[in-house]
């Protein structure tokens, strides 16, 4: 996939708002709901973070795109990583899985799973993308406000090239597919455990 072809997708094949509102609450005149709630009880909200125009920085978004077709019941969203929007995106859920690009000095395509409910995310590793005031800061703002979801996992995918228009690295593409499988399994596990709970 070339950078130009990805960039050229801007505006094409988008979900144009030409029909009736899709959110039934909005149709009923209720409060607007820009952030979809997980449609299945006890399902974590899955958030893919990144920038589609910046090579490997799109990794988190691609994981989310693939999971949307794989996970029944919804709850998968994307974000460009703005800290305030992330805080808003997870403020009303108790379980979150985020997938983002990472720059930690590891081999490109390396995947690291962080359980950040207890420990801070290494800021440096998640500051190398184009959304600088982003995920790590959002996590800590939520922690300070007491709104950090009790279960919070971040999958970091080590990137190689994030310049405008660069293609995805083959190692990162492989990692995207691995993370899709890992997150899908994790979500199914959480759902199964929730359904067994009294």
């Amino acid at each position: 996939m070339s950078g130009n072809s990805r960039s050229g997708d801007a505006g094409r094949g988008e979900d144009r708002p030409s029909g009736p509102p899709k959110d039934p609450r909005a149709a009923a005149g209720g409060p607007p709901s820009p952030h979809p709630s997980p449609a299945t009880p006890h399902a974590p909200r899955v958030i893919g973070v990144g920038n589609r125009l910046r090579g490997d920085d799109a990794a988190g978004l691609l994981v989310a795109d693939l999971l949307k077709g794989k996970l029944a019941g919804g709850g998968v969203v994307t974000s460009d990583g703005d800290a305030a929007d992330l805080v808003i995106l997870w403020e009303e859920v108790d379980s979150v899985i985020v997938i983002d690009a990472m720059v930690s000095g590891r081999m490109p395509g390396t995947v690291v799973r962080h359980d950040v409910a207890a420990d801070p995310l290494p800021v440096d590793a998640f500051a190398g993308s184009s959304h600088h005031f982003g995920l790590a800061e959002a996590l800590e703002i939520s922690r300070a406000l007491g709104t950090l979801p009790s279960r919070f996992v971040v999958y970091g995918i080590e990137v190689e090239a994030t310049s405008l228009g660069t293609p995805l690295s083959p190692q990162v593409v492989d990692a995207v597919h691995c993370v899709v499988d890992a997150v899908a399994a994790e979500v199914e596990g959480i759902r199964a455990a929730a359904s067994r709970a009294p």
Binding site: S7, A10, P32, I88, H132, E137, G165
Partner: protein
Amino acid sequence: MKTRTIKVDQLARVEGEGALHVRIRNERVEEVQLRIFEPPRFFEALLRGRRFSEAPDITARICGICPVAYQMSAVHAMERILGVELDAPLRDLRRVLYCGEWIESHGLHVYMLHAPDFLGYESAIHMAADHGETVRMALALKKVGNEVVALFGGREIHPINVCVGGFYRLPSRAEVAPLVERLRWARQAARDTVLWAGSLPMPELHGDYEYVALRHPHEYPMNEGRIVSSRGLDIAADEFEEYFEEIHIPHSNALHCALKGRGAYLVGPLARYSLNFDRLSPEIQSLAHQAGLGPVVTNPFQSIVVRAVELLHAVEEALRILEAYTPPAVPRVPVTPRAGVGRACTEAPRGMLFHRYQIDDEGTIETARIVPPTSQNQRTIENDVAAFVTQHLSLPDAELQWHCEQAIRNYDPCISCATHFLTLTVERR
């Protein structure tokens, strides 16, 4: 001879990333360079060969913070080529969408990016621990802006509902009603924000700027108006390229924009406010006075108060239009491509944003030119940092670096718009 160097590798809390390099020799500021690394013309190249109708969606991708501004300048320029003029209801709704972006952007900058500087916190994270309610209000205000953009832009990030000729779809009255309620809450929150920002301890720094902004016969400028300056410039947006020039600077991949024969100038909230104070409502003018602002503001640190004033204006303007909302009979007017050149300026949250397109008779884009606000302000930012460092040479390097970053944040530079990735070095020899 002694040269002092201070290195800062990243400019925190500036949208996008970039670098500032300051060199001090013998206790004199010798050089200030704002460096921007990435290819600035990526999107102009990308637009060539695409359909005229794709410009709003493609340019919306340039920046996650101000996509509406890019869409607005793009559609206005295209509509000038095609001879399309929107009637009042559709024009008003574009203004509402723009208000949503101003609310998002100013709400974020005032509280999350700029306020920590005044309150002595390293970042919003540290501020949140002590000022939880303030940060919660900031997030709630941002959320209202997001909701406006989501409803009229189709989604919050990189909106897709704007087209040449109008909108793809417009919401029903029932969809708008809850947003009006949220905006009523935001109006009070924004009023409180103005007074709160006015109460912050304010460093003294006064610049002798040539302010440049749009000016409209009746409105506080957003989508249209003549280009005016505090030193007598008064031209149509079509004349932008006759009066402004972009200069390639060796240390930066971005182009610096300057007024021909006059040099640096400033766009953005300070310029907009100072050139259009009389276009604010009497109530907002009065509140601005209470917050310590005169009709002209020359202290860049007071930009936090000016942004709060503009936040309130955006909320009130959106409310004014949406309280009387009835969906227009049609969401857009038909457009037919024809060859021509079109130019437009609109007021992005960070300042005037110029677009120029040339299309052929089938509607294919032949050339595109985009001059974002940050590249227009780059020279002034450098000048301000030099003035600030000169005043504070005795400070230790770490503290001086901190002040440099603050001086840059005064302009809310969206490096993402000019290009991406900024790091900062301050050097003393």
